[in-house]
């Protein structure tokens, strides 16, 4: 991407979400080396787009989101084996470098993504509207700050994550997702996951 575009994008983002303090970013090049060293791509895909069921794609995720999740793994506050083990010993700087690396990779759907089901896609769109997913995750579901990208994520991973939030088995840095998912049925989760994965 051209530097000019990046600057413009950064300016637009800052204008849209002006609250947060400026922070030192990680180093994407160091993060790439670290990801290779730790074979992250073995599960998450060489370019951060996962081809394995229940393993999320990381490419294009907001850096803050990746950092937050990696800290939760390292501190053994989020249970998703084998990640808590793999995160042990990583420094804050290494985690921020990994986050910068994956945030900079182009997002995209997995190669094994199935075809769109018009009915479920439509149901998912209506639910996403009613649940107002796009307010926090942004209207194109690319995420922001600690809030993850949903667009193009693996469908079965999204369904699993939403069920975990609903059932109180997963927490973010606050309880919003647990509240949003309260009482949402498995069928509704399936439709939402399909809709997001097909973005």
């Amino acid at each position: 991407m051209r530097p000019g575009f990046l600057l413009l994008a950064a300016a637009l983002l800052a204008a849209a979400f002006p609250f947060g303090p400026a922070r030192a970013a990680g180093d994407a090049a160091r993060g790439r080396a670290l990801a290779e060293e730790h074979s992250c791509g073995g599960c998450h895909g060489p370019q951060g787009v996962s081809g394995q069921p229940n393993i999320p794609s990381l490419a294009g995720q907001p850096a803050d989101f990746i950092t937050l999740q990696m800290i939760l793994f390292r501190e053994v506050l989020r249970d998703a084996p084998p990640m808590p083990d793999l995160a042990q010993g990583l420094s804050d700087q290494q985690i921020e470098d990994l986050a910068a690396h994956y945030a900079a990779l182009p997002s995209g759907p997995a190669e094994d993504r199935g075809p769109r089901d018009a009915g479920r896609f439509h149901d998912g769109a209506l639910l996403a509207e009613r649940l107002r997913c796009g307010i926090c995750h942004l209207p194109d579901y690319r995420g922001r700050m600690q809030i993850p990208r949903l667009a193009g994520q693996r469908e079965e991973y999204l369904a699993g994550a939403m069920a975990q939030y609903r059932d109180g088995r997963r927490h973010g840095s606050d309880t919003n997702m647990n509240a949003v998912m309260y009482g949402v049925t498995d069928a509704e989760i399936a439709a939402l996951a399909h809709y997001m994965a097909q973005q």
Partner: protein
């Protein structure tokens, strides 16, 4: 943060007719109640926390401002998520956190501070208090006691687990605790309301409670307190004073956070019916504010007024003696940021609040509607200096006077 309650979109969830078909599920937890339709598309959401170390040269200490004659400096850093503070007999400052699940111990080592992580993997261990050299840590679901902690900071070992005796409520929402020992030797903590605004059992939630240090003898000290994240006792009258967080989604300027003066144990301060002299129209049928104790002072809308302590030292000018320092973590549920500072509640001889004055400022960038840090707690050390924890930067500032 987080008076986090309200999930964006929950109003929509609860309004879904489809939900009605789920008769088998328990009643909805009411998280989003109280948000008017007009705010349903609001982009306001809790700010992202920072849980990685902020390097000392990145901590915005140069932006901090204090009144003339005072000096503010960076006292400690490298403690991500630093929130509530308590000082041990030998001067160790213990620091609780929320999301990152740790408790830190900060010690002075020849002019430098050493930060140790002495407990981790806890569910929001916000509450820390020290009594007779023993450190009490309260997470949402646990009460732990580290005996003789200052003699074993490098290897704290297994704490005594008092969880069962305290029988805490498991609710996560507003379930993190502020903790302090009263002058009566009892252990005090809040029990927040598990929603933004809702119907709930008023004898179970929105309380300040006290216990014997072993967890027995629970007593209600104050009712109708939505969520207090700070309290202290007047050094002369021994009255309990507390901060209280107002609810979200009632507008940019409504309601204000409050400072409560609790003259008699068990008094009712009004939530959810009344907050900051404002009868909440969400509650139908309502109850007028005249039925409840009025707050001692208003602390601004959505400011997240948290840690508070009376100034008991002698190092600051006489005018600050027995006045209240209050950390305001700063708003998320307001279009124009509010708070992000430390204020002083000025009290007259009768204990009436005569004004709320700024003390530590500079963390709110008003022109750009940005914040640089989030003060959560204040602590008066034995030397009379004032510590201020900054959760966003994992830092602690030290304020002194003169010299």
């Amino acid at each position: 943060m987080m008076r986090t309650c309200l999930a964006l979109g929950l109003t929509a969830v609860l309004a879904l007719p489809a939900m009605a078909q789920q008769a088998a599920t328990p009643p909805a937890p009411s998280w989003a109640q109280g948000r008017p339709d007009g705010m349903a598309a609001s982009p306001l959401a809790p700010h992202a926390p920072r849980m990685t170390v902020t390097a000392p040269d990145q901590v915005p200490v140069a932006a901090l401002r204090v009144p003339q004659g005072f000096k503010v400096e960076l006292w400690a850093s490298g403690a991500p998520g630093a929130r509530m503070m308590a000082e041990g007999p030998n001067g160790t400052v213990f620091v609780g956190t929320r999301t990152i699940g740790r408790v830190y111990a900060v010690t002075d080592q020849g002019g430098q501070r050493q930060v140790r992580t002495i407990a981790q993997r806890l569910n929001q261990p916000n509450g820390v208090a020290v009594r007779d050299g023993n450190l009490y840590v309260v997470a949402i679901n646990r009460v732990l006691r580290y005996d003789g902690i200052e003699g074993k900071l490098d290897a704290p070992g297994e704490p005594a687990d008092l969880t069962q005796a305290f029988a805490l409520s498991p609710e996560e929402h507003h379930g993190w605790k502020f903790l302090a020992f009263g002058p009566d030797g009892r252990l005090y903590m809040n029990r927040g309301v598990p929603c933004n605004v809702c119907e709930f059992d008023r004898d179970r939630f929105a309380l300040i409670l006290s216990f014997n240090p072993d967890g027995s003898g629970q007593r209600i000290e104050a009712k109708g307190v939505r969520n207090s994240m700070g309290f202290d006792w007047h050094p002369q009258t021994r009255e309990l004073w507390a901060t209280n967080n107002g609810r979200d989604w009632a507008g940019n300027d409504t309601p204000e956070d409050t400072l409560l003066r609790i003259r008699r144990p068990g008094e009712d301060h009004g939530f959810p019916y009344c907050a900051a002299n404002w009868q909440d129209p969400f509650m139908q049928p309502g109850r007028p504010c005249s039925e409840f104790v009025a707050p001692a002072a208003l602390l601004g809308p959505h400011t997240a007024s948290l840690g508070m302590r009376f100034y008991t030292g002698t190092a600051f000018p006489e005018a600050y003696r027995n006045q209240i320092f209050i950390a305001r973590r700063g708003s998320w549920n307001r279009e124009q940021l509010s708070g992000y500072d430390v204020v002083v509640a000025k009290l007259d001889a009768q204990g009436n609040v005569t004004g709320i004055e700024p003390f530590l400022t500079g963390l709110r960038d008003e022109a750009n509607n940005r914040f640089l840090g989030r003060p959560v707690d204040v602590l008066v050390r034995r030397d009379g200096s004032l510590l201020v924890s900054d959760e966003q930067n994992g830092a602690i500032y030290r304020i002194t006077h003169g010299q």
